[in-house]
Symmetry: C2
Subunit: 575 residues, 2 copies
């Protein structure tokens, strides 16, 4: 028993240096599925660790960010960014920044406005400092840049209320901003909107250990909440690469998906209550802490995912799952995409209650990583595998859960769903497996220009799009497909030596039309923001968008909340 | 192996006669936790079975219903029902039926209306038959009765659209009706509203086995969907006592909770998409089949739980979990309510991924069952236990899951959370354990008059209400508390020899005020309907209710959809 405890401590400590270890994979002790040892007792399992970072964590104070810290990005007219070296190019999501006109009905700031805000917030919470404004005006990827002259830092909902009531009466447009880690230009001003930063509202209000219900202010940073809960034996139901900077209010407002989606589902299922302030200053108390409450329309859902365009979220009540101690990871090969699908189906059935990740990569994705990232190698012997799957389980019992996974893998191998595979024996191996999956985005950046699409599609059709794009582009591009198969979320990436509008014209609008035809989503988890506000019709019917616009006009008749975002400009008379 | 298969078949067959067996519990082979055999191999575990029926299933064609079939209910002015025998009395939920005036702006049906409906639906789908209308005008409990002269049976959304467009133009009020199993008067006309029955829209449209996504029409009966899915190896994420009659469209419209809530959560998390028809006939296609879709406001949530007052749901897309094969049940005693809470907390942590029910009963609830129901006995030796807990686990692996539960129970006993307990060894024992929990409502009915409250409360405060009511009523009533502790859902029941308005005056509005003070919900899962439309303020703030009313007016400006329900009449100018 003492030995297990020591192992436990060791593994917990090791999670802190996970990323250092990732470039030093060590497969000597991994268990190969065709190995006779597979049925033996493998000893310790790895402890919980950071399983997946779609966007490498970025914290401006403490973290290295490869784009922000190493490059400058002169924007081209097409939104493309050219690095100093000229070698790394970035133009995310393949979409062109929307051309937008400032809405003439919005007022411009004057000295009286500033005085009023100082009166209600105090001098130090009314920010006009150029450097701070410059940061707040620029998005995470330096793709969008506004020209706001004012950032306000309310500390309570009643201050948010006073600000909005005033702005509404003056027709001053505002942009709510949390950690500013969004990827679609939703969290920065487009023109001179007043920035309302929620970061000063960062108190944990209560935690109910019996039910796992956390109530906190919107400005709490996700990682801080996770740390708080860790001490209580719980976890947040969502985890993101940006968790060191992003705030729970922003997570809720953008309906963030993230790493634990396949296990714990969307925020619509986990958020129990909200407090939000409407454009006219009304504070809506929907801050229930109940799992069941059928008293009237469940309005909080309107604010989950509406990207701050209907109200500013000021408090959140959220259901948090208990922390489970046993994590196991397998890296597997499948002969074709159908096998990946069938394996997913079986995994849901046989591992249902412990399955915490089911990621897939095509051969081209893995080759991209192996060719462009140092220190990464394929744990499976070189062969003709066309697809790879990474399965993670998380449960409450080390030995039982691992045996369950092993039994499942053996059965799947016997049944032909898996061609080959390895099961991580320690955290180094687990990290190395994840490194392959996580490394694709980085490898693509190193390979040249990349057109990126984050799509939801029916799983059975998902890979058809990759193949069609591949056929369409022929030798002119390298097309890779990978993503969260368990969530039906495809990351389609097209790599070319350099950006080429002829290539782009072959991809768009084809990729959006194809997605639309198959009832997919053009934004699986990033939202629409400014970037895709005018593309909503690819995923939503005209009637539905019209109702959205009616609700926007009902709750924010002057359109002051996060203008130019989410909904087509034409519907909101912004053209 | 052959032996196991035989056992498996036997157990599957035995589930069909579960209720016959329930009155013949057999505890001889149950495992007592303090028994030395507890650590041994207990042999077979029971197979999945109907775990809990809050409302005994009722199907007018095939099922016995103790209220409907055995008694006549002359309603008193207070809504109380006196049985022929004079012994069983019923007045559900302790609330008095609302006095309501027919809204003068609504038109009355004329011959032209009937002709028009016959033209679009065909003769046979325009029902004027008195007997059928009488059934459709009366609610499940015979507490509410309307006087509609017309029932329409559309077969497709476009027919619903044509009906609503016409009714809206004529200002003819309508009531959408599915299985009519609601408990708050939400699914029957109040006056002469046209009944739109969704039962003819009962096709399964598609099932995606890879992702477990079912798309079907709103009129599909829940039990039929469950049977269909069973053949596919999946289950519905909700299960209800009324599943033989209730329809998925009604389930969604009322945000039904039911038996699997603690495991799979609310319909807001499980419903992926909807098609709904607005009052003006607009068909809103929100029928996504994607787990992730962040393109605009997620409008479907407005229709989940709005009880047909914002639109009529015509199609549903829902995420269905895989069917798991291993079910285990334990019946436990705890010395106090705090131990029940701590046990819940531990169960969530240690059994997190397999926990499928955590029900509690106080001593008074169990005594009520033992004193009034034949053939039921306490599987634990008579003692001074004040509280009982029923734990159910459902997982994918018989041996692992059972061992996991056993280990948890042993630890909890050693830690003092459990005073005593038994673990079911076969389906008879499991059924007998559930019979105690399920029998409370029936026992209460036999004991005399009963005032029933279905509340959501923070778990740590939940039992305080039971104790306060007990103190408040003294010797004049028997107060019992039981319910879904895992969901924070209390069933508070007050039993008296006969209905007495003085007793009622001591309970109400106290119970609503207490619930409101502790930020609870006066309707955990049944909705507001007609019964509690004017009580919404006990659970929702004035500002929130005002926004609800604005949205109602936006989407249904003439108020034709399910009038007099959900929202306070004053806000909708129905007074």
């Amino acid at each position: 028993m003492e030995k297990w405890r020591n192992t436990h401590r060791l593994l917990r400590q090791s999670t802190k240096s996970l990323f250092d270890r990732r470039s030093h994979p060590n497969f000597q002790n991994s268990i190969h599925l065709s190995d006779s040892r597979f049925t033996h007792n493998f000893g310790r399992t790895c402890k919980p660790f950071r399983p997946y970072l779609e966007h490498q964590k970025w914290n401006p104070k403490t973290c290295f960010h490869p784009l922000r810290d190493h490059l400058e990005y002169p924007k081209t007219s097409m939104g493309a960014c050219i690095g100093k070296s000229g070698k790394i190019q970035c133009r995310f999501f393949g979409s062109v920044a929307t051309k937008t006109q400032r809405h003439p009905s919005f007022s411009s700031l004057n000295a009286d406005d500033i005085s009023y805000f100082k009166e209600i917030l105090g001098e130090k919470n009314v920010i006009q400092d150029e450097e701070r404004l410059s940061t707040a005006n620029t998005d995470w990827m330096r793709k969008y840049k506004g020209s706001s002259k004012l950032l306000l830092q309310p500390r309570r909902a009643d201050e948010v209320s006073q600000i909005l009531k005033y702005c509404d009466s003056r027709c001053l447009a505002v942009v709510p901003q949390g950690g500013n880690t969004g990827l679609v230009g939703g969290s920065v001003p487009v023109f001179d909107e007043v920035i309302i930063n929620t970061g000063s509202m960062n108190n944990i209000i209560s935690f109910d250990k019996v039910n796992g219900i956390l109530v906190c202010e919107a400005g709490c940073i996700l990682e801080n909440l996770a740390s708080f809960l860790d001490n209580q034996g719980f976890i947040m139901p969502l985890d993101l690469g940006a968790k060191g900077s992003c705030q729970i209010g922003g997570n809720v407002s953008t309906n963030a998906g993230g790493l634990r989606f396949v296990r714990y589902g969307s925020l619509h299922g986990n958020v129990l209550g909200l407090e939000a302030v409407l454009a006219n200053g009304t504070v809506l108390d929907m801050l229930g802490t109940l799992r069941k409450d059928n008293t009237g329309y469940d309005l909080k859902h309107l604010f989950i995912g509406s990207e701050g365009s209907l109200g500013i979220v000021t408090k959140v009540s959220i259901l948090t799952p208990p922390k489970l101690s046993s994590v196991n990871i397998a890296f597997l090969a499948c002969k074709d995409y159908l096998s990946c699908q069938n394996l997913l189906m079986e995994a849901k059935r046989k591992l249902g209650e412990v399955l915490s990740a089911f990621e897939f990569l095509d051969k081209e994705s893995v080759d991209m990583v192996l060719n462009h990232l140092e220190g990464v190698r394929n744990p499976l012997p070189p062969s003709m595998h066309n697809f790879y799957v990474l399965i993670e389980t998380t449960g409450s019992d080390e030995s039982y859960d691992k045996e369950k996974l092993e039994a499942f893998l053996l059965r799947s191998m016997e049944g032909g769903l898996i061609s080959d595979g390895v099961l991580a024996q320690d955290i180094n191996q687990a990290s190395a497996f994840w490194r392959i999956r996580e490394g694709v985005a980085e490898a693509l950046m190193k390979a040249g220009a990349v057109y990126k699409y984050d799509l939801s599609l029916p799983v059975e059709k998902m890979y058809n799009l990759v193949e069609e794009i591949r056929t369409r582009l022929g030798q002119s591009a390298e097309v890779v497909g990978y993503g969260h198969l368990g969530d039906g979320n495809l990351h389609l990436n097209i790599s070319t030596p350099q950006y080429d509008d002829n290539i782009l014209a072959q991809i768009e609008p084809f990729v959006y039309e194809w997605t639309s035809k198959h009832r997919g989503s053009i934004s699986a988890e990033h939202g629409l923001g400014l970037m895709k506000a005018n593309k909503i019709h690819y995923s939503k019917s005209a009637e539905t968008v019209q109702v959205m616009a009616s609700i926007k006009k009902l709750l924010d008749p002057n359109g002051i909340l996060n203008p130019y975002k989410v909904l087509p400009h034409s519907l909101l008379s912004y053209n």
